[in-house]
């Protein structure tokens, strides 16, 4: 249930009628929602055959690409919103992808598991890597090759000249705006490319 609610909370960040690029769109659930409820258009990008097929079955326009190869297909500022939800932590070249997101979209929205969430900290303090609902994997089989915290992302965004428009945490289907780095299992950032600071 909370996943559905998370999706809705993120969808609310997307202005109605936006042209959207959803990087790592999975089965196309969010795009279908944005199209139906917020009159959005655009494409999903996905690498996995099974997900591509499900997008097509849903009627979501999907382009099969490996995000590690960058977004050369897309011109600067060619989308109102570029989404990168629960994807960033799987990419080798996280920083480049973040820059690409800011290049292609007027607005970027990212979400990722917040490693700073307090149960994770407790687990690490006890000497073990956390295994939670948001981070359900063992350290040796996790697809999350990048683990970062809410606060870490703020630093990375600043480093890349991104201007944060909104940021909050998500936990159990609710927004966490107070101490999100400690209290939220998921971090959400909405940003745009800054002025002269852009790399």
């Amino acid at each position: 249930m909370s996943e559905r609610r998370d999706l809705e909370l993120i969808a609310e960040l997307v202005p109605s009628g936006s042209r959207v690029l959803d990087l790592g769109c999975g089965t196309g659930e969010l795009l279908a929602h944005l199209r139906a409820k917020r009159a959005c258009s655009g494409y999903g990008i996905e690498i996995a055959d099974g997900n591509v097929l499900q997008c097509m079955q849903r009627g979501v326009d999907v382009i099969q690409l490996n995000l590690e190869e960058g977004l050369a297909l897309f011109d600067d500022m060619s989308f109102d919103v570029v989404l990168q939800l629960d994807t960033l932590q799987h990419l080798r070249n996280t920083e480049r992808m973040l820059r690409e997101t800011a290049r292609v979209g007027r607005i970027g929205i990212v979400s990722f598991p917040n490693f700073g969430h307090w149960p994770n900290r407790v687990s690490v303090a006890r000497g073990r890597m956390p295994v939670t609902r948001t981070l359900p994997y063992q350290w040796y089989d996790t697809p999350n090759i990048r683990v970062g915290t809410f606060a870490d992302f703020e630093v990375l965004a600043r480093r890349n000249g991104l201007h944060i428009l909104d940021a909050f945490g998500l936990h159990n289907g609710t927004q966490v705006r107070r101490w999100p780095n400690l209290r939220a299992s998921v971090a959400v950032f909405k940003f745009e490319r800054g002025g002269a600071a852009g790399a």
Partner: protein, 378 residues
């Protein structure tokens, strides 16, 4: 899921000359075609299947008198198949210049009553699409639900959205390209030279000599065939396998299985395919380049297709029409904000994969046609 069964080719004569891109015209001409399934009341469920180099209007099913002659895309087209003839009215048409019944080089040139031979006008992908559009007129189809093709057929599908964008909703281009690379043209040129330098070619007027340039055609087919397969699939199928168990220490006889295979393919091909047609069709491939009229800007070329929907499919091991070429098409469509889907199928079979029934590939086509069907019904 079974074959559509016995099918019957039909033909229609068009008295009005067809203006060609070259500036020439094709005088009255005949198109041979087949249809499968039923056209619905508002003629909104028609799907045109465009053929590639060596195929024809015979897309699915078989002929009563020739049950082994199965349509070239029978695994895709039929009742319950991805392109479901229970829902769609599917049309296959033989392009002018080909050698399977539509007006071609072996037919009489009305100017002199002799076979056209080398005088058959050079036809382009765009000319074919215009001829196909006239057939759609004749069949009462104002707007196709979809046009689909692989390889050169994919180029025709793309050209439909550029020349007649209002007459087609969905375009499905499989293992295709926005134009041929120098390497691709080079392969075609080798094939053409093999044919033209065959002593039996007689400048293209071999019909009156009672011969065919079969040697040239064989070599043309052999080189073509190599480019349709991937290195891996050839290795897996033949490797260094020997036909007689050991080396024959001969330079002219067959030692390796691959040699035997290519010669067999060449022999078979030279028995049914026309040499002038081979020249014409490879030229149509060479000339296709919609970006050329826009200073090389493919995105500008696709501007007319803004309201069409696309599915572009490529295969990872296809080096003749590589995925990068399909991505160029996708980029041009994205630049125009066109609704496009792109699937890159990880199949081992090279260019030939578009004719095979890889489950991921057919899964994608099935779900896309599902969408086309639902729209046509709405």
């Amino acid at each position: 899921m079974h074959s559509i069964g016995i099918v019957h080719p039909q033909s229609r004569h068009f008295g009005q000359p067809l203006p060609l891109r070259s500036g020439a015209t094709l005088a009255g001409y005949t198109l041979v075609y087949e249809t499968y399934g039923a056209l619905n009341a508002d003629a909104s469920n028609a799907v045109l299947v465009c053929h590639a180099l060596n195929a024809s209007h015979h897309v699915a099913g078989h002929y009563e008198a020739d049950p082994r002659n199965e349509g070239w895309w029978d695994n895709l087209v039929g009742p319950g198949k991805p392109l479901d003839t229970d829902r769609f009215f599917v049309i296959g048409v033989n392009n002018p210049g080909s050698c399977f019944g539509s007006t071609g080089p072996m037919h009489a040139n009305p100017a002199n009553g002799q076979p056209y031979g080398a005088d058959f006008p050079v036809v382009t992908v765009e000319d074919w699409v215009d001829a196909q559009a006239r057939l759609m007129d004749a069949l009462g189809i104002r707007r196709l639900a979809a046009v689909i093709g692989g390889s050169l057929g994919g180029m025709q599908a793309l050209a439909w959205t550029l020349r007649h964008p209002q007459r087609v909703r969905h375009c499905i281009a499989v293992a295709s390209a926005p134009n041929l690379s120098a390497q691709n043209i080079a392969f075609n040129e080798v094939a053409r030279r093999a044919i033209i330098t065959d002593p039996d070619f007689h400048g293209g007027h071999y019909y009156s000599h009672g011969v065919v340039p079969a040697r040239g055609l064989r070599v043309a087919r052999m080189i073509g065939h190599i480019t349709y397969l991937s290195d891996d699939s050839m290795e897996a199928k033949f490797g260094r396998g020997l036909r007689n168990g050991g080396l024959g220490y001969t330079t002219q006889d067959i030692d390796f299985q691959i040699e035997s295979y290519l010669r067999y393919q060449g022999d078979k091909f030279s028995e049914y395919f026309d040499a002038n047609t081979y020249l014409l069709i490879t030229r149509a491939l060479d000339y296709f380049d919609p970006a050329a009229a826009h200073g090389g800007d493919l995105s500008a070329a696709f501007a007319p297709a803004r309201s069409n929907h696309f599915l572009i499919v490529s295969f990872t091991t296809d080096w003749r029409f590589a995925p990068a070429r399909s991505r160029e098409i996708v980029k041009a469509l994205v630049d125009n904000r066109v609704a496009v889907n792109y699937a890159e199928i990880d199949a081992p079979h090279g260019h030939d994969a578009f004719l095979l029934d890889d489950p991921r590939y057919h899964g994608v086509l099935r779900s896309y046609f599902e969408r086309v069907a639902n729209e046509a019904a709405a």
